[in-house]
Amino acid sequence: MDPEAAKTARESLDLAFHMSNILETGLDRHTLSVLIALCDLGLNPEALAAVVKELRRETLSSTPSASAHPPSS
């Protein structure tokens, strides 16, 4: 990537991160960058959001009872 594009990308990420903070999404910069990349590639943002939600819950739920495993399909 040429420096111009890199700069743009960095600034866009910054802006998006800023917005994400305002909206209190709790996403960190890296995760956000991954998500943006995935969105850009055409994935459904709703699906991505669902993934985020589920996995978060996963992690949170796995904390109190580490022994229980969600069944795999």
Binding site: T8, M19, P45, R56
Partner: protein, 854 residues
């Protein structure tokens, strides 16, 4: 490129899962290991979710999404953050080219949903929030597992900070929510924003998808096949009232516009339609704004989602409150004015404008100003120029085409149906008179000077003689304009009448000739024309009489009069039947030409004629009595000639003579007083009243009224009126009697002269007798008269005198009774002046003493 991208995806996903899982600080270390089975499990799960939802459910409009995010921030009270967000978004959006994000909307949407989810799981006991989630989540995703997952979550007792009462799947609350969601889904076949859009269409008169116009029930209704909650249905119906009103108003406007070429709708109607269309354009603007707003929400492709729609039916009803009032007003106006036109329409609208609500007043005033402008234009052109441009018959002044002489009285009239209620009757009369005067001047008087008066008037009133300047609500401006114009035009008209057409002079001339004011002329006329008039009417030629009239004029002071006036004086023979004498059909006539014949119309001249006849008869009687007096002069009869007669005869002669004289005296007294009464009490007094009124008359109507009054009072006071019919008849009987007396007196004196002559011849006197006798003997009349001598003479004289005496007695008696009858009727007359006549006639109470009333 795409393959490369495709290649990147799984890696990225892996990366994502890793990161997400690593966010949890207390996670197992083994999860972080990409190789661990749990990680793979998660990965697979994530992949499943991703593949399940391939299509986003919203339109890729980043601006709209940003808007809704902003609004949500604001509603949460974080307005400063909203501001920051919008700045950031602007900057973010402006980044284009390499290295920038292409699907910006996707990013925003993602952030939006994540933050919302986070917030909702952050533990708010907010059941409305729960509900939409239920509806959204369960309807959309066919993903049973997430539901199952959730259930499992609850199984574990983790409650997101919400204390759940029960943990089993048969949670009553959840069940209830689920049931309710289903119910709502069932009932709401149609969602609110669709209905809102339909209502907006209905309010422009267009049928929507569900709300259509039903002509049988005359309104916009929601088709019965659609199931909506009752409340919604009622609200929709209420809002559609606006659509019904709009339809009515629009229908009227377009109908009028169609009808216009057929000349059914007048200028006022057109102005009304134009004003209505202006109001409707305001209404369209409002509708456009509302429609834009109704689009301004999160646009969702599917119908059954309802998240945060800005324009709901309730908001719509608030917005529609004011337009509803206005539209209702317009519909009422349309109803009222459907069959009216012109001034009547303006008047009806004005009546409706008498309303307490200031908004209504303002609205109506605006409307009226436009509606009345054609009317005011017509008034202005009528008042300043006398022009009546009224193709559609909307003005309250109507004209009829009549001859020039009745232009003033009948040419123009007020049409009360078209008179708007804000123009009072007196103002309307003034308007009528002003325009009429201008037309009168133009047509009858050939005068052009009124144009300056018109411009002066306009200048004085502060308006111009061009269009505009007057309007509804400025009735006082109209008032002052009309006043000024009326003042000047009236003055000008009267000037013209008095100076150019010498109205006063003509009036005076009529009085002098037709009402026998010029005494010497009348005397001469009577002298000359009298003998002719005793012939039967059909033997008299009017040419001859005209010649005699000329002679009379030249012989009297009338010759010094204005030749124009003398020109107009003519003899007129009235239509006569058999047996009429000249006296009955003779009359004088005065030819008043345009424009004076506005005052001296046919009927007015007929009245003058009646009065003339009466006065002429009175004069004739007077003339007769004077003639009788001439023969009765005592000098003619000297008692010398009768010394030869016997005493008895002499006494008889004297007594007869005396009776004759007495009777003559009575009659003369009566006639003289009557004459005096007529001449002075009636004619002169009325004339002076008329002169005074002519001085102060302000316009032609005043003049006409004054002249009318003058004539009527003359007619009344000289016993020609309706109430004096009996009196009039008895008066004429008296006149006839007097004329009879005249002939008797003539005969008497003829006889006496004859007697005198015969007695002289029969009884010659001392000194002259011889010569006369000789002369008489030579030239004596043949006949046995002389030879009979004195005795015969005396006898004859006796007989003659006796018969004459009887006649005179008869006349005298009749006269007394008639006169008594006449006088007795006088006090009961209506008119006060006739009492003065009685006073004159019965000054010494001679008559009332003779026949005292019981």
């Amino acid at each position: 490129m795409e393959e490369e991208d495709q290649q990147k995806i799984p890696d990225l996903i892996k990366e994502l899962v890793l990161r997400l899982l690593s966010q949890n600080p207390t996670s197992d270390s083994q999860l972080l290991n990409p190789k661990s089975p749990s990680f793979h499990k998660h990965l697979r799960y994530a992949l499943r979710i991703l593949s399940a939802r391939l299509r986003p459910s919203i339109a890729p409009d980043s601006a709209a999404i940003a808007e809704s995010i902003k609004r949500r921030l604001v509603t949460q009270g974080k307005s400063s953050q909203a501001l920051t967000f919008s700045e950031l978004y602007t900057l973010f959006d402006s980044k284009t080219g390499l290295g920038s994000v292409n699907n910006k909307w996707a990013v925003l949407h993602l952030l939006d949903i994540v933050s919302e989810d986070r917030r909702s799981t952050a533990g708010q006991l907010d059941s409305p929030l729960l509900l939409p989630n239920l509806a959204l989540g369960d309807a959309e995703s066919g993903d049973n597992d997430s539901w199952v997952l959730r259930r499992r979550v609850k199984d574990k007792g983790w409650s997101n900070g919400v204390l759940l009462v029960a943990k089993d799947p048969e949670n009553a609350r959840d069940v209830a929510f689920r049931e309710f969601a289903n119910l709502v889904k069932e009932e709401n076949e149609v969602s609110e924003e669709v209905l809102v859009r339909d209502v907006l269409y209905a309010c422009q008169g267009i049928d929507g998808n569900y709300v259509k116009f039903d002509s049988s029930s005359d309104g916009y209704v929601l088709s019965d096949s659609i199931k909506v909650p009752r409340a919604t249905g009622i609200m929709v119906r209420k809002l559609c009232e606006l659509g019904w009103l709009f339809r009515k108003v629009k229908g009227y406007v377009s109908e009028s516009m169609d009808r216009f070429p057929a000349e059914d709708v007048g200028t006022v109607g057109q102005a009304f339609c134009a004003a209505l269309q202006d109001e409707l354009s305001d209404y369209y603007k409002l509708l456009a704004v509302l429609e834009a707003q109704s689009m301004n929400r999160i646009p969702l492709v599917s119908d059954s989602a309802s998240s945060g729609n800005y324009l709901s039916l309730r908001r719509l009803s608030v917005w529609f409150a004011e337009p509803m009032v206005k539209m209702r007003l317009m519909a009422v106006l349309v109803d009222k004015c459907k069959v009216l036109k012109g001034g009547a329409m303006a008047g009806a609208i004005h009546l409706l404008a008498q309303h307490g609500d200031p908004m209504v007043q303002e609205f109506m005033r605006r409307l009226l100003r436009r509606v009345c402008s054609p009317l005011f234009e017509m008034v202005r052109s009528w008042v300043l120029e006398g022009e009546l441009e009224d193709i559609f018959a909307e003005f309250f002044v109507v004209s009829q085409s009549v001859k020039a002489e009745s232009l003033w009285r009948e040419g123009y009239m007020l049409h009360p149906g078209m008179l708007p209620s804000f123009i009072s009757q007196s103002l309307a009369q003034r308007i009528l008179r002003t325009g009429k005067s201008i037309n009168f001047l133009r047509v009858c008087c050939d005068d052009r000077g009124w144009a300056e008066s018109a411009t002066e008037a306009a200048a004085a009133a502060g308006t111009s003689t061009r269009r505009g300047g007057l309007g509804y609500g400025k009735t006082d401006a109209l008032d002052s304009l009309v006043d000024e114009a009326a003042k000047r035009i009236d003055k000008h008209l009267l000037d013209v009448m008095y100076n150019r057409y010498k109205f006063k002079e003509h009036c005076l001339a009529i009085k002098r000739y037709l009402l026998l004011g010029q005494g010497d002329f009348v005397q001469y006329l009577m002298d000359i024309v009298g003998p002719q008039l005793s012939e039967p009417a059909n033997t008299i030629s009017s040419f001859q009489l005209a010649g005699l009239l000329e002679t009379a004029i030249r012989a009297s002071n009338a010759q010094y009069d204005d030749p124009d006036i003398l020109d107009r004086l003519r003899v007129k023979m009235m239509p006569h039947g058999t047996g009429d004498r000249g006296w009955d059909v003779f009359s004088l006539e005065y030819d008043a030409r345009v424009p004076l014949d506005t005052v001296f119309t046919e009927s007015v001249m007929a009245k003058y004629l009646r009065i003339f006849n009466f006065l002429w008869k009175l004069r004739r009687v007077e003339h007769a009595l004077i003639g009788a007096w001439k023969t009765m002069k005592p000098n003619c009869i000297t008692s010398n000639s009768f010394t030869k007669l016997q005493q008895a005869v002499k006494l008889q002669l004297l007594s007869t003579l005396r009776r004759c004289q007495v009777l003559w005296d009575e009659m003369n007294h009566f006639v003289t007083n009557l004459q005096y009464y007529i001449m002075f009490e009636v004619l002169e007094v009325s004339w002076s009243n008329l002169s005074n009124e002519m001085e102060v008359a302000k316009d032609l109507d005043d003049l006409l009224a004054a002249h009318e009054k003058y004539l009527n009072s003359i007619v009344e006071k000289s016993l020609l009126g309706e109430s004096s019919q009996l009196l009039y008849k008895s008066l004429f009987v008296l006149f006839d009697l007097i004329l009879q007396f005249r002939s008797h007196a003539d005969r008497l004196y003829e006889g006496i002269y004859e007697l005198q002559a015969r007695s002289e011849s029969a009884l010659p006197s001392q000194d002259k007798s011889k010569s006369r006798k000789q002369r008489n003997a030579t030239s004596s009349e043949p006949g046995s008269w002389i030879s009979e001598g004195r005795k015969a003479l005396t006898q004859r004289a006796n007989e003659f005198l006796q018969s004459m005496g009887q006649d005179l007695d008869a006349i005298s008696k009749e006269y007394s009774s008639l006169l008594e009858n006449f006088i007795s009727q006088l006090p009961v007359q209506q008119h006060v002046d006739l009492k003065f006549l009685l006073f004159r006639l019965d000054f010494t109470e001679f008559y009332s003493q003779q026949h005292p009333r019981s």
